[in-house]
Symmetry: C2
Subunit: 188 residues, 2 copies
DNA sequence: TATTAAATAGACATAGTTGTCTATTTAATT
DNA sequence: AATTAAATAGACAACTATGTCTATTTAATA
């Protein structure tokens, strides 16, 4: 499967948008900066994406797919059903450290543009719901001690992940996320 | 204590900025919209606040004070030390419902402008640290069952609050925040 | 009431925004 | 090699952004 000419341009745009939307923010990033750093022409961008909002939606869709595949792959490496749940924390912790505590791209997008466009909100909801469903399956198969119900444990892990990522992005350190893992370990 | 002339203007500016920065977002809100809806002159704004960033910092400072005072007052109404911790969830849940699941103003500001100005980040860190210290004190005095250490329970509550608020602002409902309260209740 | 300070309206400068359009060059396909 | 499609540079329109400045009016104080 060789890469079409158009796909190269699309990838360059999305790579650049992903980097800039994340490190700078969506509104602060101008189309002119995207085309300059992606090294493509403005007309090319507007040929593939009808508007800046369309680009944001496409960015979120691709992010959802890439991010979730990596997460699933990481979890699948582990066989112990309880350890699978703990990997969720390792995965997110490692990501936060690597990207300089930039927080969650979906939450960022929601805070910047979730109110303004329903497609944006829908993509963010889809991604987060996907994660929650994934956690729920892992919880059911974990054989945990049932100190909490399956639903409670699922919600707990889901909220601790986001809460821990938020704490990391505010305090620029991963102590809370590390601590979250230890807490879940006790409750499994 | 009568209100000075200048203070009326400052209050009108901060009230409007608070409303717009929260409902629309910081970058999307222009100075021209602020002065128009606050019904004051542009020169007045720039007399009291040197720049838009200064206005954001001032907004966060005032928010920190007002929000925390209300939270503390709510908690102080309750005498039972364990129930005091649960009030934290009631308080935030009620706020989220009332403001249409708009999320946390500090997290929003961090996601929009935390990277761009160190004073902004500092104010956000101050507010969140203040809350964490407050929770820590309540935990120490709660007489909880010590299934988790004081530090762990503090971190858990802190992360569940932010995680629950995030979930509310994404899914536009308070189920997770409600569930968070039930979970903490079990662990107290 | 006269003085002083503050708030006002609104023009203005400068720069940036998204998005469109044209003319040209590049590359793939027949 | 000729044709077709895509990407290019860059000018341009229309609008918005922040921030400054002047001239005027309003209000508090002495």
């Amino acid at each position: 499967m060789i890469k079409q000419r158009g796909q190269v341009v699309i990838d360059k745009i999305l790579d650049t948008a992903e980097r800039l939307f994340f490190t700078q923010g969506y509104h602060i990033t101008g189309i002119n900066q995207v085309i300059e750093e992606a090294d493509i022409a403005k007309a090319s961008l507007y040929k593939h994406f009808g508007s800046k909002t369309d680009l944001l939606v496409a960015y979120l869709q691709r992010l959802h797919e890439c991010w979730f595949n990596k997460l699933e792959a990481d979890v699948n490496k582990e066989v112990d059903p309880k350890a699978k749940l703990l990997i969720l924390f390792d995965h997110h912790l490692e990501r936060q450290v690597r990207n300089g505590y930039g927080g969650c791209r979906f939450i960022k997008a929601n805070d910047e543009a979730g109110m303004s466009d329903e497609r944006v909100l829908a993509e963010i909801q889809k991604a987060k719901q996907h994660l929650k469903d994934f956690i729920a399956r892992l919880v059911v198969n974990s054989g945990h001690q049932k100190l909490l119900t399956d639903k409670e444990l699922t919600g707990l892990i889901f909220m601790m992940l986001d809460g821990g990522i938020i704490a990391a992005s505010i305090f620029k350190q991963a102590d809370d996320l590390q601590s979250a893992k230890a807490i879940i370990q006790k409750l499994l």
